[in-house]
């Protein structure tokens, strides 16, 4: 991944307006966060391949960046985005946030087809 260029991301985001698309949205501080101190708790959530449709969407900020997508009945929001996959296209857009240690802290992804249902079977 590479540092986000909002001027390249915005036109791709716009391509996803007003159609059913698959969303992967995730935030995490890691399952081992609990080991860092008594008061720290592991916090995270993800949704994968949820179908959404939005009429408006913007990437904002000066880095790290935010994304807000406006749907008929609600919003999708992400902050702390630092990197994007430059191979992204109007079919699949991958954004992520990484902390100072390079660990993923948030992933925000849109695709016109479902994200790979990766199966490890048949090694």
């Amino acid at each position: 991944m590479q540092p986000i260029s909002p001027e390249k991301v915005q036109p791709l985001l716009t391509q996803f307006f007003n159609r059913d698309v698959y969303l992967h949205l995730e935030t995490t501080n890691g399952s081992y966060a609990v080991l860092r101190g008594e008061k720290t708790i592991s916090v995270g959530s993800f949704v994968r391949n949820v179908v959404v449709r939005f009429e408006r969407g913007m990437i904002t900020g000066n880095g790290p960046y935010r994304v807000g997508l406006k749907m008929e009945h609600g919003w999708i929001y992400a902050e702390g985005l630092t990197d994007w996959e430059p191979d992204s296209s109007e079919h699949c857009l991958l954004l992520a946030g990484h902390d100072e240690e390079g660990r993923l802290t948030i992933a925000f992804q849109l695709s016109v087809t479902p994200f790979g249902a990766e199966s490890g079977e048949n090694a």
Binding site: T28, S31, E85, A96, G102, G116, E118, E121, N122, A123
Partner: protein, 220 residues
């Protein structure tokens, strides 16, 4: 009779960090080693250093890393269960125990390694450890494989006492280090820190290369 070893862990690299040296020693002694790996670590946070993976490429990368690590460790029978990282605890526990049980029977395992239930921090670890115990409990006690469990919760020493098995792995540390390196996306940053500070006996990785500790599970 040479032992027939079964490893049950949910994430590629669990086997290496917890037990890499022990596995190499089993392989060198001529044991056959089967590894049931639950997921591809799809939700890992470590993406390499520099970052080489993204959320979508990570599973395939980790699968290749695991295959390479298995070569370094001497694991010849790698079986992937195909669960999704972070979701193992929500799967049908009975069905998971069935699959583990079938493999235990098939390979006639004499020794099994997994995490210590209640002391392995990650919910996927806990779920696979519990399923493993459930599977082994179906076997009469006098025929049941020996079960060793790895614990690393912050209170495991208080609750469980000192591990009864402490294995000196210094003579196979190079092999373990190669397996750690094979898990590049997951270990790159730890390795950088280690190499910067290789002579520091307290460096994070040093303890992984000296001894491995685990508990013989006591059936109740």
């Amino acid at each position: 009779m040479k032992p027939r070893v079964l490893l049950v862990f949910p994430h590629p690299d669990d086997e290496t960090f917890s037990l890499g040296g022990t596995i190499i020693m089993h392989a060198q002694a001529g044991a056959t080693i089967t590894y049931l790996c639950g997921t591809l670590g799809e939700m890992g946070r470590q993406m390499g250093s520099p970052i080489t993976a993204n959320r979508e490429t990570l599973p395939q990368i980790r699968k290749r890393e695991l295959q390479e690590a298995c070569r370094h460790l001497g694991i010849t029978d790698l079986r992937l269960l195909g669960y999704h990282d972070k979701t193992v605890e929500f799967e049908d526990r009975q069905a998971m125990a069935d699959r583990i049980f079938q493999v235990v029977q098939e390979i006639q395992a004499t020794v099994v390694y997994t995490y210590y239930p209640g002391h392995s921090v990650h919910p996927d670890h806990e779920a696979m450890a519990e399923a493993t115990i459930e599977a082994l409990q179906r076997i009469p006690l006098n025929e049941r494989p020996t079960l060793y469990c790895v614990a690393f919760s912050s209170n495991h020493l208080q609750v469980l006492g000192e591990p009864d098995v402490v294995v000196d792995i210094a003579h196979v540390a190079d092999g373990k280090l190669n397996a750690i390196k094979a898990h590049y996306t997951q270990s790159a940053r730890t390795l950088e820190k280690y190499l910067e500070d290789a002579n520091n006996p307290n460096a994070e990785l040093s303890r992984f290369l000296k001894t491995e500790r685990y508990y013989t599970y006591r059936w109740t």
